[in-house]
């Protein structure tokens, strides 16, 4: 493992300022981050490219053919897991950054950290509201870093407990949503039963030729009935539901697309974060902190142990993913029946699925880390991971320009396979770009900008690689 230049080499108390290390020096973290950022596009493309929920649900309902099989595989192996990987590495990197010893004349690491991650929130806002990637995650990661960094001194055991606790709450969130649906259904059936009784009564009265006003449901009972009916109607698969979205996404006017996407972006930034994201990301960030502290990323375990962990994690993940997809199919067939009969929603184990699978993937990387076969490809992934922010923002730029109306307008015009082909192209280009860029420069352009604004004027104003080590700048006074 490479270490940042030792502090002793610097004249203490002098005016020289030690340049912070260029990036995390633990290669496994860069590799995993790279894989996470690249892999995430396989799922993001559904939204970029207009492979809508309706289309997905229809595939799940037909459950036949290659289209379905590939989609199922992506659901099992990719959906949510890539973000989990990114968040795990994010947590580990937080601990690394904050554990840096403060040098004389330097700002405390925590102060820089706060600035840095507040800026990440700004990057997220830019990605969401300017580049128009409505599922941006930088915004959330920035907020989570600010919320959770105070826990970086916690002992590994406490971090593990925090991980489990957050995961349980996250599962609970899915359960409570479902419990609400069950409650709604209960009210609906009560209202419907009453309505039938009234109907029967009035028929009986009519037969006896009694003139009486027919009883009707109260306003609230009607609301109860309509609420459930609306929910079921919303769940019904219907490709026509996409029409409006497609029309608006293909609009050539940036302002129109902006307006159309605003509610989705805001609901992702506010509602999703509060209800789900905060628990999900907290669980993964705590897990990353824990894994880092027990030495997971620095080859604490043997290769055999990593393999075992990988197999265990992926197996658990696949089983739970199968459970989720299977019961989602059932729920799509008849949601009323599902709510009536099933105690748990199909998403109940989704949090555990994501965590287990991500842990499995990370272990797999660790197991293969020093094998010759993978060294080339891993170093390419590491390059992507070092430039994760740049690559992530580039994905937004490339995909919006390709799919959205003010770009080339391919939204909802490609088949699922074509979308993945597109993804493969983008990922290949990104990997090559990252490798080449890092041959010449120390940081990616977005990373450079990020560091520049976080550290203020204390950094050398260049991205160029410097041949002199250790990297020091002398402040002229």
């Amino acid at each position: 493992m490479e270490q940042p230049p030792p502090a002793e080499q610097q004249p203490i108390g002098s005016q020289s300022i030690h340049t912070p290390p260029a990036y995390s020096r633990i290669p496994s973290l860069d590799i995993i981050r790279g894989i996470g950022v690249l892999g995430a596009l396989f799922v993001s493309i559904w939204i970029f490219g207009g492979f809508s929920e309706q289309q997905q649900n229809q595939l799940l309902l037909t459950s036949k053919g290659w289209n379905y099989r590939v989609f199922g595989a992506l659901q099992i192996f990719f959906s949510g897991k890539m973000l989990a990987l990114v968040a795990i590495v994010f947590g580990a990197a937080m601990v690394i950054f904050l554990s840096k010893q403060q040098q004389a004349g330097q700002q405390p690491a925590v102060d820089v950290f706060v600035k840095k991650y507040l800026w990440l929130i700004v990057f997220g806002v830019f990605n969401g509201l300017v580049l128009l990637w409505s599922r941006d995650i930088l915004f959330h990661l920035g907020i989570m870093a600010i919320l959770l960094f105070v826990f970086f001194r916690m002992k590994p055991r406490a971090l593990l407990v925090a991980t489990l606790l957050m995961t349980v709450v996250y599962c609970g969130k899915y359960y409570w949503d479902y419990a609400d649906h069950k409650k709604m259904y209960g009210k609906y059936t009560a209202a419907v039963t009453l309505e039938k009784k009234y109907e029967k009564d009035s028929v009986a009265k009519a037969k006896k030729a009694i003139v009486a006003k027919k009883d009707t449901l109260t306003k609230f009972q009607k609301q109860d009935k309509e609420a459930w009916e609306g929910l079921v109607a919303g769940k019904k698969v219907d490709l026509k539901k996409d029409d409006d979205n497609i029309k608006k996404m293909r609009s050539g006017n940036y302002g129109k697309v902006w307006n159309h996407l605003l509610p989705a972006t805001q609901s992702r930034q506010a509602e999703w974060l509060y209800k789900k994201g905060v628990w999900y990301l907290a669980a993964m960030i705590f897990m990353g902190m824990w894994l880092y502290k027990i030495g997971f990323f620095t080859s604490r375990f043997t290769r055999g142990q990593y393999f075992l962990l990988a197999i265990a994690g992926i197996t658990v993940g696949v089983l739970l993913a199968w459970y989720r997809v299977h019961f989602q199919q059932i729920s799509l067939q008849d949601y009323e029946k599902f709510v009536k009969n099933k105690a748990l929603p199909h998403t109940i184990f989704f949090p555990i699925e994501k965590a287990a699978m991500a842990l499995g993937y990370a272990s797999l990387v660790m197991a293969l880390l020093h094998t010759t076969v993978f060294s080339k490809i891993f170093s390419a992934f590491a390059a992507v991971g070092k430039m994760a922010l740049t690559n992530y923002l580039l994905q937004s730029i490339v995909c919006t320009m390709f799919f959205f109306g003010y770009g080339m307008g391919y939204f909802a015009r490609l088949t699922q396979f074509q979308l993945y082909l597109f993804v493969a192209e983008v990922l290949l280009l990104q990997t090559i770009f990252s490798v080449l860029w890092l041959r010449r420069f120390t940081y990616g352009p977005a990373e450079w900008l990020w560091r520049r604004i976080s550290y203020g004027k204390m950094l050398p104003h260049t991205m160029r690689k410097q041949s002199t080590t250790p990297q020091t700048v002398t402040v002229l006074s």
Partner: protein
């Protein structure tokens, strides 16, 4: 009463390094000592804390439809006058002052501490403190069942302030004003949507007058506007709400659950991030200028009073009489008449009224006329956190069903008798408590959790 700042804490000092030249060199991190506290800051905070109940009491004690009733009702009742006074003089200002002092408190907190190697840094302590505040806010909303909780938002907003702790006062002030401008633009965008809807309605009406057949779009635009203008609180829904709040703890809990989560989600995003952060930044600037710490000359305070009230009160009056009353009674005509909503002036009014209030308090303090009251208010302010939570506890127990169940039983103006009662209670209890203890009970809990160590509480 120690009213003067130590020289190094001078608000006029804009040297970014001034905090590290503190005369008291502290070896380890510890909470701000009692002697270091600036009691004028506490005093203003005490006023704001008491004043905040003026705005909150309707939320505790009466169904919101009461406002609709009062606005549409006769204008010579005690209820209406009460509403008028509260709206013109206090609406938003007490929270404004409170936010300003929250910003000032952030500066106090970070100024009084020096970085120590090895131990938790100032930033860590600050963020731990705020994270706990967020947790207390959740507790206040979901457990104490106060749907108007503000601690949650303050905790989150405070997290944005830390990088500005060394920023010069004029820049903080400029940033705060900029924030207000953003908020005004945001408000205007919302109002423009209303105007668009009204315009579509007018167009439909015009078309009908000319005898043209209406398109579907015009029909729905017309219906939508009429529904909006004729909207009234539904009496059945009001009754249901009231019976819920008068119910058991579980009933009230379930009733407020979606309201609390919805409030925290959209409140953070659309409201607190603008409303609170702007005033916090301005408060930091004012603190830097020493405005809350008795620094300026008396003439400055007099000027602040005149400018603040001179501009703030007329705007407040126009906002109430035109914006609120006219805007509700004749919504359509109002929208036709005004390109810019009166509500847009909210932050401007608030800023000037806050300036006026703060100046007034400082002038009363300097005049030595009401020393006993000022001392009492400083005590209330020193225990602001405890007193804020106590307001939730007392008022929920008065109004919710699992307490005395007075919800919606008092008339609007009668609510303010309760406010008076709570004020007297808090003035007395705070003064007594601080005779024996260093901090209020919730302050003690908060500190102990922040430093993760039991803090001494008793005064020797």
């Amino acid at each position: 009463m120690d009213i003067n700042l130590p020289q190094d804490f001078s608000g006029n000092n804009s040297n970014p390094q001034f905090h590290s030249t503190t005369t008291q060199t502290q070896v380890t991190q510890k909470p701000v000592d009692k002697a270091e506290r600036i009691s004028t800051v506490d005093m203003i905070r005490g006023v704001a804390l008491c004043g905040i109940l003026l705005m909150n009491i309707p939320g505790f004690g009466i169904h919101w439809s009461a406002f609709d009733r009062m606005i549409r009702g006769p204008q010579n009742t005690a209820d209406f006058y009460t509403m008028e006074v509260i709206s013109v003089f206090f609406e938003g200002t007490m929270r404004g002052l409170f936010s300003m002092l929250f910003g000032a408190g952030m500066l106090l907190f970070t100024m009084n501490k020096k970085e120590t190697l090895g131990g938790p840094s100032v930033a860590e302590l600050y963020y731990r403190r705020l994270l706990l505040l967020v947790a207390f806010g959740v507790f206040n909303a979901y457990i104490l069942l106060w749907q108007g909780d503000i601690l949650f938002f303050y905790g989150l907003c405070g997290m944005l302030l830390y990088p500005f702790r060394k920023t010069a006062a004029k820049w903080l002030f400029a940033l705060g004003i900029l924030w207000i401008c953003f908020n005004m633009i945001k408000g205007q965008i919302n109002y423009n949507e209303t105007r668009d809807k009204r315009a579509a309605y007018n167009e439909a009406v015009q078309a009908k007058k000319e005898g043209k057949p209406l398109t579907d779009e015009q029909k729905s635009a017309k219906a939508e506007w009429l529904q909006r203008e004729n909207w009234r609180p539904d009496s059945m829904e009001v009754q249901r709400d009231i019976s819920k709040v008068r119910g058991s703890y579980a009933t009230v809990f379930n009733y407020y659950l979606p309201r609390n989560s919805g409030g925290e989600i959209w409140g953070t995003y659309h409201w607190a991030f603008w409303d609170c952060v702007a005033m916090m930044l301005i408060g930091m600037a004012f603190f830097r200028w020493g405005y809350f710490s008795n620094k300026p000359r008396t003439s400055t305070y007099i000027m602040g009073l005149l400018v603040g009230y001179g501009i703030g009160i007329p705007i407040g009056y126009i906002m109430f009489s035109k914006g609120m009353i006219e805007g509700t009674l004749h919504q359509g005509l109002y929208v036709d008449a005004y390109t810019v909503n009166h509500q847009t002036l909210y932050d401007v009014k608030r800023f000037f009224l806050c300036l006026g209030h703060a100046s007034l308090i400082m002038l009363v303090f300097r005049s030595n006329l009401l020393n006993w009251l000022m001392k009492g208010l400083a005590n209330v302010g020193q225990m602001a956190f405890t007193n804020y939570l106590m307001q939730s506890i007392i008022c929920t127990l008065i109004f919710h069903g699992y307490g005395l169940g007075f919800y919606n039983k008092l008339q609007f103006h009668q609510l303010y008798y309760v406010v008076g009662g709570v004020w007297i209670f808090q003035l007395i209890t705070s003064s007594i408590w601080l005779k024996y203890y260093r901090f209020g009970p919730f302050e003690w809990l908060w500190r102990s959790m922040t430093y993760w160590k039991k803090q001494p509480m008793r005064l020797k």
